[in-house]
Amino acid sequence: MAHLEFEKPLVELEARIRELKTASQGVEGIDAEIAELEARAERLQRELYEDLGVWEKVQLSRHPDRPYFLDYLEAIFEDFVELHGDRSFADDPAIVAGFATFEGRSVAVIGHQKGRTTKEKLKRNFGMAHPEGYRKACRLMELADRFSRPVLTFIDTPGAYPGLGAEERGQSEAIGHSLLVMARLRVPVIATVIGEGGSGGALALGVANRVLMLQYSTYSVITPEGCASILWRDGTMGPAAAEQLRMLASNAKDLGVVDDVIEEPVGGAHRDRSLAARNLADRLRVHLAELEAMSAEQRVEDRYAKFRAMGRIA
């Protein structure tokens, strides 16, 4: 188990309790001590997570143990068939796409995947997609549209990859095109930010009828580190930039950018993955049912009106 600096006291206390429990088999009088430690752990957990700062929450959105798209896919969906490739250049493992069953119906599922192990992180480029990833996503969305299958996307990326090959093969066009394709889909579209919602690379999967965010996910025009290096020429000023950017789920809700913030288990989704998955499934079910009750024309109009209204002007 990896942990963040501020989680350390709690993680250590929990490890101590586990040790005691193992060592105490048959030892008398130790139960009271364990109970006392457990009460302390609960208090500590409450205190710790009750009043997290902006930067701690940003860190939670990037927690090394945080459930990724494939974890939710396994927990919530059945019969997943992954489909690969953009039919033009390559298959981009930073975006996973295919069809799966959600509570009895087939849906297209598309999401960023960061990778857990070092080897997988490299393979998936830390969830930073190349143009091929977005083109694969578009291909799958258009396929879903033709066969009247809802599209569910899962956003978790620091951003689209800023590299030479990505520029060479049209990263800008790929993202822009994805926005256009999503805006015109006739089927229900739900996007959920499950971790990092990093700029255009996140939005490319985000033009949905309903946009949901997990409680400790973020949505931002730029990474706080990138913002800091532009504004103050100092990438270590990330925490200060994070405050300015209002990138938390609660901020996005206030700004009218998301419809629904989904509560996470105390301490974050990684501390109770199955509860986190159940909470997500509950909200997906509700929103999907509402969207399925609308006509295709209503869904296109609804999505247009939703994004058309975003922004603040005088």
Partner: protein
Amino acid sequence: MANGFTRNKASGDGVPKRTLGEGVFRRCDACGVTAKAEEFVTNLEVCPACGHHFRLSAEGWIDLLLDPGTWEEHDAGLHAVDPLGFVDSKPYAARLVASRKKTGVADAFLSGAGALNGKAVQLGAFMFRFMGGSMGSVVGEKIARLFERGAERREPVILLSSSGGARMQEGVLSLMQMAKTVAALGRLREAGAPFISVLLHPTTGGVAASFALLGDVNLAEPNALIGFAGPRVIEQTIRQTLPEGFQRAEYLLEHGMIDRIVPRREMRATIARVLEHLVG
């Protein structure tokens, strides 16, 4: 000129001027030649010696592209607010006030309608001089309205981009302008009216990654920098120096991302010919 912008006022911004003896002279940053400032102006801010394209203002573009006396501005009254209470070296609210005062315009986009060779068109142009042409809520709204007007009237939309991308100071709301503008472009497509995207130096970030490369026809000026990420960010990411000419218009043409590179003097005629083919 008859569109209400004089060629003098329309001259590029940020090009150093200096007096050498009697007349006002300007030195070309690209080739080092010194010529009369007047020559730059009559040559549409293109260096008379080496052909380097300096920035032409939005007003200058309107004079250049539209038939005299046909320009009519729309949505001029939209003003930005400070939705996040954003403060870096100075508050965004103060930055807006200072930028308005310095540039004489309300925000970073000028839009309206006019005629090109007698054909009614919707035209919009970024004003790079206002906060680097960054796209916040006002710019996004004006662009969405531009596409919607084009769709309603079934008129071509010509949009000249020069922008560093989304306006950071408006946070995720500026990110959403990418979706908003592209959705409106979708309406224009459905209405069957063409979108001519003119990519000027520089077009990057959230403007590049939304509508700018989705033109039915993408035209770029010579040597314009066009890309998703800025060169500095890419160099830091891949830790190697970028090849000569990377992300320049010529590079994008070679890689199939734009239709043509068009020198400034030929832009009007090129757009007119394309429109003639598409909707003549």
